[in-house]
């Protein structure tokens, strides 16, 4: 009986949490499918309305949201890949090589310190730098900035995963005749792949949703990402709720699919390091 109550309350709490986090998503989804009349009806029709795809057509056929989506994918994937490669190598070095003057610790802290100030502090300097190297309104500028933004996170996450791995395995690989890099690729990385997957998901989400730098560094359709494109529908004369919701709904899909694909790793990655084994 007591167990049943405990289980019941557990499900009740889960339901509340789910409602809390999913309600805005549901609201967005319904707005994207409602005609403008239904959107502003009071009380709002929660379930019974005639769905329409006109906003999706408007967003992706009439307007350039398809291109924004493409830019978002390129920028997020490329910056995540760059941050993972550079960050993983740096993390491995910090976790395994003993540097002089206690640099391991100091460098790690320096790397982390780049995330200690608000992002907007760097917005103006970055804008000026990108202008000088003529990278404004390019995807490259966003890839560079997001890579830099994600690096501290990758380094700190991966450093922890590497540190938890027994050194014996790499040493065995070296004695067996493999190079440092070979041991890293063939022995170490497969063993930290859950951590790598978890880190990749975080990087992707951050790059995908990033708004501030995308707004500052891109003003034309050439390199506009979805968040900026969506926000751009708030104009002086009207707010296109339907188009914005349609684009935002589509924006959820890639991240959701990736997270589902690596879900198996994700749980292990997030709890790795918590328990040795």
């Amino acid at each position: 009986m007591r167990r049943k109550i405990a289980q019941g309350s557990r499900y009740a709490l889960l339901t509340v949490a789910l409602l809390f986090s999913l309600a805005p998503a549901y609201w967005m989804l319904t707005i994207s499918l409602k005609t403008e009349v239904d959107q502003f009806a009071s009380p709002p029709p929660w379930f019974s309305f005639t769905p329409t795809l006109e906003h999706y057509y408007d967003a992706f056929v009439t307007r350039g949201f398809g291109e924004y989506l493409f830019t978002s994918v390129i920028v997020a994937v490329a910056s995540t890949a760059c941050a993972l490669v550079i960050g993983t190598l740096a993390a491995y070095a910090l976790a395994r090589f003993e540097l002089p003057w206690r640099l391991n610790r100091r460098l790690s802290l320096w790397i982390l310190s780049t995330r200690m100030f608000p992002a907007i502090v760097t917005a103006v300097p970055l804008f000026l730098m990108m202008r000088d190297v003529q990278l404004l309104n390019t995807r490259a500028s966003l890839i560079i900035v997001y890579t830099g933004f994600n690096l501290p996170f990758v380094v700190w996450m991966m450093r922890g995963f590497f540190a938890d791995l027994p050194r014996d395995l790499e040493e065995a690989a070296l004695v067996d005749g493999d190079s440092r890099l070979g041991a890293l690729v063939r022995v170490v990385l497969p063993l930290v792949s859950p951590g790598l997957a978890a880190t990749a998901v975080f990087c992707l989400i951050v790059s995908w949703n990033e708004f501030l730098f995308a707004l500052v560094l891109t003003q034309t359709d050439a390199a506009m990402t979805l968040p900026v494109g969506i926000a751009g529908r708030v104009t002086q004369y009207e707010i296109k709720w339907g188009v914005m919701s349609a684009a935002a709904t589509v924006a959820i899909i890639p991240i959701l699919m990736f997270a589902l694909a690596v879900q198996k790793y994700l749980v292990r990655g997030l709890s790795m390091g918590a328990v040795k084994g």
Partner: protein
Amino acid sequence: MGIEFKNVNKEYGSTSVVDDLSLKIDDGEFIVLLGPSGCGKTTTLRMLAGLEPVTSGDILIDGKRINDVPTQHRDLAMVFQSYALYPHMTIAENIGYPLRVRKLDKAKRAERVKRVAAMLEIEPLLDRKPRQLSGGERQRVALARAIVREPRAYLMDEPLSNLDARLRVQMRGELKHLQHELGTTTIYVTHDQAEAMTLASRVAVMMKGRLQQFDTPMNIYNYPANRFVAEFVGSPSMNFIEESPLTKGIRPEHIQVLSEPHDGAIAATVYVTEQMGNETFVFLTVGSNRLIARAPADFRADEESQVWIKIAEDKIHYFDPVSGERRATDNTD
């Protein structure tokens, strides 16, 4: 393949871990580095493997200085205490790893993996993952990975310490047989003197980073170079009687325990007896000294009872009471 340590030092900060080690190992020898934990034996092995930089001195393989040769180019094979099997690879992939790294083609690789697996009787395990194996099986896989290529030498870091007692004795025998068959120079680190005595062609006894004695097992047992070696090798350990001018050392088997008074026998009190099945250890009190004697299996004596002991005078070792060095005042030298 000959290996030589020439005045090798290893320091971590200001602590010296290996202190002026010089050691010359001949081709095909089975050398055991023996000592208590923290004596520098594992560090010595790791320096030879290239996993630990040398602070000063030289390490030579076949007369060539290898201090600066990276691990992967030293062509040595090592068996780790933890076995260090790659958990994400099958047993066949584990054993074949050194060959894969050397870019041997797949068919040849598979053939050699099979041959080694057959040699160590682990063929049925080839498709499994390390976590599905018992300790003894993992140990064999680690060995197989070491011998699948023909390295210049085998380095073994307490490879049997994670096995249960019965398996340890069995693997000890197999290791010795294997080394004899392959004839490859082997350097074996252990704190277990039984392993050292049974496996080694020569034993290097270390303490606090210093080499104490480097000799055959029998010479180490019969002519220990100093008090530390005498105490560390032999179980139960040697008895010491502090006398002036020299300290006397007597092995337990050289003390005969008698229930009746006898010519030249000294009176002693039994402190406790330990029956081992095949023999009995008798702990005795003689004046202010505690002694251990090895008696036959059927020896019986009550605690606090009076017995008599006879010490084989010609088997007594003498040590300098200050330096602990052996003194050749006995007639066995």
